[in-house]
């Protein structure tokens, strides 16, 4: 804190002149008469910040506010913008030989439906549509939209047929009487209200289209199919008094780029932070960070907007340990946030021990580490921790959580959950490359450990559920929505979902008694007795009832073969896909920072952007380069200065929760907390399974078994663990970490705290019996529980308070209890 004061005191608002300006885009092409390109004039300032000066610039030739429109004078064009003494030029090329753009439904009508929010997820773009009309989100499927409008009909989720007789929503004879126009203009009741006026360009465009016979236009091809949506800038920092335009570009399947800024729909996630106009002009509202969702041409993208405070003069040059710091600190500088100081040795040691091993540092190690003057001591302790048995135990536990090792998740057979759990343990102990782990699980056949993953509740899981879980775990994406309908927030279609699910469509088990299941992929061309029960092995599209061929998300179909495991091509594709590495590094990142670069970690989508996209990409690249080495990835993360920043904040970063400017205190996982209580009290927990009616325990974990060692949460009971959020692993675990009343009551009267403290073999009772002084006991308690000695003020207050208590043992029990209930103990910080 003290080290920051000079900078904070020196933080003054200043208004520097830009040092350079540039036009975005610097080059452009307009291919049809009437096509337009928005140019932005971006100014660059000495501190690295930028500002949109488009509206303040003078443009020539004839590009009002930076908008260049192709007219019938083809050829090269130079556009110049001037601001003060600074000038920037963009080079363009205009081709108008082909005349105006050919009519296409998506471009002409779909863009209106998008811009006016008609096909947004909250309206007709929702799962079932609205009022019987279903439109695809942002006009992703223009042919479907066209038919629902032109032919009419009521959408059904599980059938391709109309629920009611088809009545067109347009009137070719009298366009003004079209339902489409009357609803949108408010001429008749409309749940979505008035979307545009009768004299608006949108009304005119639609009317003209109907008059011309409501054509669809030529089918979509590479010149019209949008492959991606790009938004400039991806990350926008705004001062309190600045505004900035967004520039939205559709990248066609043939690589051509089109400006769709005017057709895009903009939605600010948090209007308290920033707002966005219909034109894409972003305005700040309050300090903070939010995102703006951009939809156009069937695609979606997001822009991160940070509203920043006053400039900080003499922003310090921060030491960096590796590229993580470069990315994080660069963004902090742009956001005018000063990171916290480096954590103290004690703070770092407790944090890194808990994060790498789920274990509190022993008091002697704390003292040794704090006293050490070795400049490399942090790196050395990281390496030492990664080599400990506790590291293997802890990460086995974390992956058993993620991979769902549980009695009921693995065939309701404890031997099978052991087989599966041991496979994970071996993988962690041997540092098996993560892509190999994933591949082995995705392709598992036969009777070995990872095959047991496919036997939830004693049956083979459905293809759609199995696939959705694999995608969520290994791609960090939630495709489940697309199971019943095209994904309302993403570009995942129902066809893509089921094409992927079909890879798991032949998964089957041999056996009937619950003791001998062999997992295999049923051959397509052999019945194996199917005819005897009139059965078939096929995966059908739930809506169209079409037989599905396994198809990768990129559209490549994988023809089935009876001679090959159908999941191998899927696994080969998945582990090499960029999604795989970025999902993996994001998941591991979250283990160390309490949140992912994309958060939640399994909710990657264009509308939930990474806080640090370049860092995520670099981490993923590094992970791939290192052979998907989990230990190397963890080492990279914990050796960064970013990880080692203190949890203590400064005025500039106090509100920051997403930019890693300081360590965020995180509640200890239930299992880690219980183990930590056992460490501090010196009384380990014993876990039992079913207790007979007479109270006889028939199964009990061996003495010394830690909570993180428990393989099956549904086999070994613990009220404490359940209260503190241990998941049963019957679905993908989501730990909230939020406190609840049960926890509070448990602290007050629960057996874990009170019985352990009163136990005759407890650390406290042994210390008291050893005639240790109050000072020695206090030192031991703090070092054990908090990983630091008490500071002088704490020591003074506590010892004074203890001296006034009539019963020394009770007083110490109370103090131990208070420490165990403190946030400092129960959180990793």
């Amino acid at each position: 804190m003290k080290t920051l004061l000079p900078f904070l005191l020196a933080a003054i608002a200043y208004a520097a002149d830009p040092v350079a300006v540039r036009l975005v885009p610097a080059t452009f092409e307009l291919h049809r008469e009437g096509a337009a390109q928005q140019l932005l004039l971006i100014a660059e300032y000495p501190d690295g910040s930028t500002q949109d000066l488009t509206d303040a610039a003078q443009w020539s030739p004839n590009a009002p506010a930076g908008l260049v429109t192709a007219k019938a004078n083809p050829g090269p064009v130079q556009v110049t913008a001037t601001h003060g003494k600074l000038r920037a030029t963009a080079s363009g090329r205009i081709e108008t030989a082909a005349g105006p753009a050919e009519f296409r439904f998506r471009a002409a009508i779909g863009s209106i439906l998008t811009k006016r929010g008609c096909n947004s997820p909250a309206c007709h773009g929702g799962v079932k549509g609205r009022g019987g009309l279903k439109l695809s989100a942002a006009s992703l499927f223009p042919q479907d939209d066209y038919e629902w409008i032109v032919k009419g009909g009521e959408y059904q989720v599980l059938s391709a047929e109309s629920k009611t007789p088809r009545v067109p929503r347009i009137n070719l004879q009298n366009p003004a009487e079209s339902l489409l126009l009357r609803k949108a203009t408010g001429a008749m009741p409309h749940g979505g209200g008035k979307r545009f006026a009768v004299d608006s360009p949108e009304y005119q465009t639609i009317t003209n289209w109907i008059r011309q016979g409501a054509p669809f236009g030529p089918p979509e091809d590479d010149t019209s199919r949008v492959a991606a949506l790009e938004v400039y800038p991806k990350i926008l920092t705004l001062e309190k008094n600045q505004k900035h335009r967004l520039l939205v570009t559709a990248v066609m399947a043939n690589g051509r780029r089109e400006d769709v800024t005017a057709q895009a729909l903009y939605v600010a996630n948090d209007k308290q932070i920033a707002t966005v106009a219909e034109s894409g002009l972003v305005s700040p509202a309050a300090l903070g960070e939010t995102s703006i969702l951009v939809r156009a041409a069937g695609q979606a993208a997001a822009v991160i907007v940070g509203v920043i405070g006053d400039p900080i003069a003499n922003y310090p040059t921060l030491p960096k340990s590796n590229f993580i710091d470069e990315h994080v600190f660069d963004k902090l500088r742009r956001l005018r946030i000063l990171p916290s100081a480096l954590s103290s040795d004690a703070e770092f040691l407790r944090r890194v021990c808990l994060d790498l091993t789920g274990t509190l540092p022993p008091p002697a190690r704390v003292t040794e580490f704090v006293r050490s003057t070795d400049p490399k001591k942090r790196e050395r302790v990281i390496d030492a921790l990664i080599a400990t048995p506790e590291f293997t135990d802890y990460w086995t536990f974390r992956f058993q959580d993620l991979f769902r090792v549980a009695l009921f998740a693995n065939g309701i057979n404890a031997k099978w959950s052991q087989m599966y759990g041991e496979w994970i343990r071996e993988s962690i102990a041997k540092n098996k490359p993560y892509d190999r782990m994933a591949w082995e699980r995705l392709t598992a056949q036969g009777y070995d450990g990872p095959t047991r993953h496919f036997l939830p509740y004693d049956v083979i899981g459905s293809p759609e559920e199995t696939m959705a879980e694999e995608v969520r775990v290994f791609f960090g994406r939630r495709l489940e929505c697309a199971q019943c309908h095209n994904h309302p927030y993403e570009t995942w279609s129902q066809d893509q979902f089921w094409g992927l699910a079909a890879f798991f469509g032949r998964l089957f088990k041999m056996g009937d008694t619950g003791n001998e299941y062999v997992v295999f992929d049923h051959p397509l061309n052999e019945g194996m007795g199917n005819a005897e029960v009139n059965g078939k092995i096929e995966t059908l599209h739930p809506r169209t009832k079409a037989k599905l061929t396994p198809t990768l998300l990129d559209g490549r179909a994988v023809p089935p073969s009876d001679q090959a495991n159908p999941r191998k091509p899927l696994a080969d594709w998945m582990v090499q896909h960029p999604y795989f590495a970025e999902a993996a590094v994001n998941r591991i990142w979250a283990e160390f920072f309490g949140r992912g670069l994309v958060d939640p970690v399994d909710d990657f989508r264009s509308t939930n952007p990474a806080t640090h996209p370049e860092l995520l990409a670099r981490l993923a690249a590094e992970f791939r380069r290192n052979g998907h080495d989990l230990r190397a990835l963890m080492r990279l993360i914990v050796t960064s200065r970013t990880y080692q920043l203190s949890a203590e904040t400064n005025p500039t970063n106090r509100a920051d929760r997403v930019n890693y400017s300081h360590a965020l205190p995180r509640p200890l996982l239930a299992e880690v907390l219980l183990d930590a209580i056992g460490q501090v009290t010196g009384v380990a927990e014993r876990f039992t399974t079913t207790v007979t009616a007479s109270g006889k325990v028939t199964q009990q974990t061996p003495s010394g078994t830690r909570a993180i060692h428990l393989r099956e949460p549904d086999l070994f009971h613990s009220r404490f663990l359940d209260l503190y959020g241990r998941p049963n692993r019957l679905a993908l675990p989501e730990r909230s970490g939020k406190a609840n009343l049960g926890q509070a009551l448990n602290m007050l009267a629960g057996p874990i705290y009170n019985e352990k403290l009163a136990h005759p073999e407890s650390r406290l009772q042994k210390l008291l019996a050893s005639q240790a002084t109050d000072e020695a006991i206090l030192q031991d308690l703090y070092l054990t529980a908090l990983g630091r000695p008490p500071d002088p003020a704490e020591r003074q207050q506590i010892l004074t308070a203890l001296s006034t208590q009539p019963n020394r043992s009770d007083a110490w029990k109370d103090l131990f209890w208070a420490v165990l209930c403190s946030r400092e103990f129960a959180e990793n910080h």
Partner: protein, 536 residues
Amino acid sequence: MNWLAGRVASVLGALTLHAADPNLQAVHPLAGQPGATYQATITGSNLANLRALSLDEPGVRARLLSATADQLRIEITLDTSVTSGEKKLRAIGPQGLTNAVSWHVVPEPTTLESPDLALQSSRVVNGVLAEPGEVDTFTLNALAGQAFTFEAVSATPAFDPVLTLLEPAPESWFSPKSWKRLAFHDEDLFFPGLSTHARLTHVVQQAGQYRLQISGFSGHGGPAASYYLRVRNGAAPPPLRHPLPAADWNPRSFVRQLGPDWLAQLHRRGGDEKTQPPPPARVAASPDQTPLLPIPGIFEGRIAQPAQTHKAALHLEQTLPVTIEIETPEATLPEFNPIVTVFDSTGREVATNVHTKRNNNGLYMMKMIHARTTFLLTPGDYTLQVRNITTDHGRPDFAYRVLLRAQVPHAGRVTFPDDRLNLVPGAARVLTFQLDREEDFRDPVVATFTGLPPGVTVLPGADNPVERPPLPNAGRIERYTPKPQTFSLLLHVADGTPLSAAPVYPKLLIRPVRKGQLAPPILEKSIPLMIIPAAP
């Protein structure tokens, strides 16, 4: 498999003790060396007043020292000539004869567990995990490169031992004196029919002291959790992943041997002693060819590579009820799961050893693999195909024999649950057993006892079986399961029959009747029997 499992379940169910029967659980120490005399305890129930031991093991003497309700104290003396292996022992008292409990004779010297006992090669340690969660820990001094095989054998199937080898972890930052897991073993392969004994082979990389721990799976423990631990130098051969054929004749096991006399066995069990069919022709599988398989004929090969498929051609001149039998002489389920399918000339599946049915709770398709299936084959050309169920697994020991033959009606497996009979004067005891009628075997079967003690008579009884409606969605179950028939015999003990001082061993005989003639027995089983006083 479904059928087998049902059979196992019914046997286990029927083994439920009669209320008064004394029952033995586990012996501790579990193993003794020839030449040794030692005391042991046997846990169990209803053991008070037992007064003698019953065993028929050459070179073994045992005497009962004391008995309480749940424990016997005995002394065992082993001659130096006694052979190694599993032995059985029963106890006798006024409440009758106990079940037979297992114990072992081992060639190595034995010792009792003690805390941190130093293990030695070629030694056996006897121990018991008396409480749930108990772990026995031993030390082991090893040289660099030294290989060890540790084997933990439990006294009862109810106790499943687990072995963990630990090495010092001086690198452990948390506690330099800590130990870390070096190797772990529960059982080689958890699957019905295979041992759950733990067996760990490990080559130690560094010289030093190690620890070996024995625990119970999932924290099991109790007075009956008795075990012995054998330590051997060197890597012993891996344990058998191939269950031994059951003592009783079971034609529906993948591990029964389809030897040259198999067809003769089937005829004999059908009451036909005279037919001595020649051994079936043997046809070797070839990856590239489809040889003709005569009927009867054995098609044999190895699925040495993943996704390998072997085929044989069949030709039938006349309609024939046939049976396909499959043996896995080396690797077997669950590693090797041979799928045998017969296709007609159009490629339509005619028969398979996979029984498909629908689960009546959700109508899920369920599949069970069988070692025998029966069906009718009409004249024509067919292809028989053999492959492993997975496409990813193939090994040189994935060997199979597929016997295709005409059906032979015969008596199949006989299940008789009682392993001892404690009878009370003036009372009758109904004994129920089950016979599988295979391949439309319809001849009568006679069951009787010989060698019953005076005062005990055997009478035919009528069973009152629960009539179960046929399962819906059961597929063609008749192809995969025999027709079970339940028989009852009634043993009546006359009033005043003298009580037994020792068990007698009457024989249960089961004989088919063929064309009015009693055929030789298909089952002869001695069952120990005692006449005991009525419970007060």
